[in-house]
Symmetry: C2
Subunit: 370 residues, 2 copies
C-alpha cells in the first residue's frame, strides 16, 4: 500500500486518468486544463450533483472503495435518467485523509470507470485533494436531452397513472442487515476484550457475516443500477411520462414532491407496491412493516413516473414497470390505500440528511440519497 | 442562532434559494428538479469544479462564512475566465456538521450570491447535506465560449511574450499574517490559562489583531477577485492569448504546466515580477524572500497568459497586465533570471494538497488552490 503523498496531486491525477479516452462527440476536451470543454449544439444540457460524506452517507466498514466509486457515479446518472436524458460526462472531486492509499483511490476510480463504461459516460475532470478527516466525494454529472423530451416533476395531471420500476425497500433492508452485522461484530470484539480472550479476538479478524440468501439486498444497497434501460424502453414504446424523478429518499417523499410541484393529489395502493421476496423476509426478521420500508426506505434509485391514462395498455406490457396508483385532484390529498381498504395520508419520512449531523441515528433511519 | 435540523433539508434549500432568479438565457431551469437544464446551441460549454475542505483549504477562525462563499464562487469563475470564457451557472454542494447554524449557511449563500451577481452567474442547483465533522464545499461552475475563442494551456510558441495580471504573492503573505496572529492569540490564551489569569482570558475574548496598513494582503487572501475584467480588455484590444491559465498554485507551477503542455521553455525576469508594496514589506518582516513568495505563493487568482510577440505594443498599453518574460525552445529550459543576471531552473514548489493531510505544515506552506 502506497501513501498518496509519494505521487503528489498531479502524479496521482495522471495515474488515475491516463487511460481515460473520451467516447462522446460532445466531449471536446477532458481532463488536463482549467475546464473541460463540451459541445451541445442540438440538445439541452442537464446538470446534477451529489455530495457523499464518510460517516453520513457511507460506511467503509461494509462498502469497499470500488463499490463506492460505482455507486457514486450511478446515483448521479440516475438523476439524468430521471429527466428522461442521457448521461454523457462526469466530473469527480474527492478529498482524502492520510489513511487512504493510492490503491484506495485507484479502486474508487475503477468503480467510477465501470459505471461510466456501462453508460458510455466520459470522466472529464475534477479535483483531488486532501481532507483533515475522512473521505468526501462530490460528483457532477452532465447529460443531454432534446428540449421536448425533458420530463420535469411538475407535469402530472389528474387521472394520470403512477408507475415505479423494479422493486422498493430492498436497499434499505440491505443497509439494516449490514448495520446489524456490524453491531454484532463490534459486540463480539468488545466481549472478547472484556474477557481478555486473545484467541477469540484473533479469530474475529476473519469475521465474515453470513449473507447467504440475502445477496439481493446487499447488491441493491452496495451496487445500485441507474435505470437507463427503462428510459430506453419508454422511448421504444413511444411513452413520454408527464412527470418523473428517481427514488432516492423513499417513494412517499418523492411522490409528495411530484404532487406538490404538479399541484395534484394521489392514490397509491399498498397491494400494488413491488416488493422483492427477500425484502419481505428480511422485514419479517427485523419485525418491521414491509410497506413502511418500501414507502420510506430510500436509496432504491428506481424511477417514479406518471403517464396519461391512455398509456395503460403499453405500461402493462412493459417489463420491470409496476402501476401503483393514480393522480387525483389536489383536494383529495395524498393517500396510501391499504390492503384492508383503509386510507392513510402520505408523509415524507425519508431520510433527513441534515439531522444526521454527527452520525447519530444511523441505524434507525434509512440511508441518504441525492 | 438556529439549528439547521429545525428546517430540514428541503426547508433549508427553499430558504437559501427562493430569491434566486435566473438571469441568463442559457439557464432554462434552475433549482428544483433532479437536474438543472441549460441551453447552449451556439457555444462550447466549459465546466470546472473545486472542492474545499475545512482545516485544509480554509480556517474559519479567520475567514467568515460570507467571505468563504464569495471566495468559493470566485475561484471557480476564475477557471472559466482562464479558458477565455464567460461563467454562466454555478452548482453548489455543502456538507455541514451540527455546529453550523441556518445563519451560517445563509451567510455562505450571501457570499456566493454576491460573487454570482458580480458576474451575472446563475445558481442552478446543488446539494445540501450533513457532515460528520467540519464543513466541505464543492462548487461546479459552467460557462461558455465560442469554439474559436477558447484558450488552452497548450498553445504557447517560441518567442511568445509571457504576461501576468495584477500582482503576485499578496494572498500568500495575507495567509502568513493571519496564521501568525492566530498563533499569537493561542499563545496568549495558553499563557493566561497557565497563570490562571481570568482577567487576561476575558480580555482575550475581544482580541482583535491590528492589521492596519496590511488590508490589501487580507483582501487578497479573503476576498479574491476573478479577472473577468482582463478577459473583457483582451477582447476589446483584439488580443487572443496563445495559452492561458489562472494562478492558483503559484506562478512557477503554472508556468511549468503551460511549458509542459505547449512543449516549450521559458525565461522569466525577476525584475519584472509585479509585487505590491505591502507584499514586499510583509516579506521583509517575515524574513522571507519576496521573489519566492511571488513565484510560489499561490492563491493569486491572477491570469497567466502568452501572446504572440506582435502584440507587444498592445500589451504594453493595457492596464493591469505585466510582461514578465518570454517563451523559448524547450531545450533552453525553464529559467528565472535574477536581478543580478543569474539563472535558476524553475521548480513547482506550489502547495501540495495531498501531503497536507492532517493539517500538518499548514503555517509553512502556501494555501491550497483549485
Amino acid at each position: 500500500m502506497t501513501e498518496i503523498a509519494t505521487l503528489g496531486e498531479f502524479g496521482l491525477i495522471r495515474r488515475l486518468t491516463e487511460d481515460i479516452k473520451p467516447q462522446n462527440p460532445s466531449t471536446r476536451y477532458g481532463v488536463g486544463d482549467d475546464c473541460a470543454v463540451l459541445h451541445y449544439p442540438d440538445k439541452e444540457v442537464l446538470v446534477t450533483t451529489d455530495m457523499l460524506m464518510e460517516g453520513v452517507h457511507f460506511d467503509l466498514t461494509y462498502i469497499d472503495m470500488r463499490q463506492l466509486g460505482y455507486k457514486s457515479a450511478m446515483v448521479n446518472m440516475s438523476d439524468i435518467f430521471a429527466m428522461n436524458g442521457t448521461p454523457r460526462q462526469l466530473i469527480v472531486s474527492i478529498a482524502l485523509s492520510k489513511r487512504f492509499t493510492i490503491e484506495d483511490t485507484e479502486a474508487f476510480y475503477d468503480g467510477l470507470k465501470a459505471a461510466c463504461a456501462k453508460w458510455k459516460v466520459d470522466i472529464v475532470g475534477g479535483d483531488t485533494t486532501s481532507s483533515y478527516t475522512g473521505l468526501a466525494i462530490s460528483i457532477t454529472c452532465i447529460g443531454e436531452a432534446a428540449a421536448g423530451d425533458i420530463v420535469y416533476r411538475n407535469g402530472a395531471k389528474d387521472t394520470d397513472l403512477i408507475c415505479v420500476t423494479g422493486d422498493l425497500g430492498a436497499s434499505y433492508m440491505g443497509l439494516q442487515l449490514l448495520e446489524r452485522e456490524k453491531a454484532v461484530y463490534y459486540q463480539q470484539v468488545e466481549e472478547a476484550q472484556k474477557k481478555g480472550n486473545r484467541q477469540a479476538l484473533d479469530s474475529l479478524k476473519d469475521f465474515r457475516p453470513d449473507f447467504a440468501g440475502k445477496e439481493y439486498l446487499l447488491e441493491r444497497q452496495l451496487n445500485p443500477e441507474a435505470r437507463g434501460d427503462i428510459i430506453a424502453q419508454l422511448r421504444e414504446a413511444n411513452i413520454r411520462p408527464t412527470a418523473m424523478m428517481d427514488i432516492s429518499d423513499g417513494l412517499s417523499s418523492e411522490l409528495l414532491h411530484i404532487c406538490s410541484q404538479s399541484n395534484c393529489g394521489c392514490r397509491v395502493y399498498e397491494k400494488s407496491l413491488p416488493i422483492d421476496y427477500q425484502t419481505a423476509v428480511m422485514a419479517e426478521e427485523f419485525n418491521m412493516n414491509v410497506t413502511t420500508c418500501a414507502m420510506n426506505g430510500g436509496e432504491d434509485y428506481e424511477l417514479l413516473f406518471t403517464v396519461p391514462i391512455g398509456d395503460h395498455a403499453k405500461i402493462e406490457a412493459m417489463e420491470g414497470v409496476r402501476l401503483i396508483g393514480h393522480i387525483t385532484k389536489p383536494e383529495f390529498g395524498h393517500l396510501l390505500v391499504t390492503r384492508d381498504g383503509n386510507e392513510f395520508e402520505l408523509r415524507a419520512q425519508g431520510w433527513n440528511p441534515l439531522s444526521a449531523g454527527d452520525g447519530v441515528d444511523k441505524v434507525d433511519t434509512p440511508n441518504p440519497r441525492s
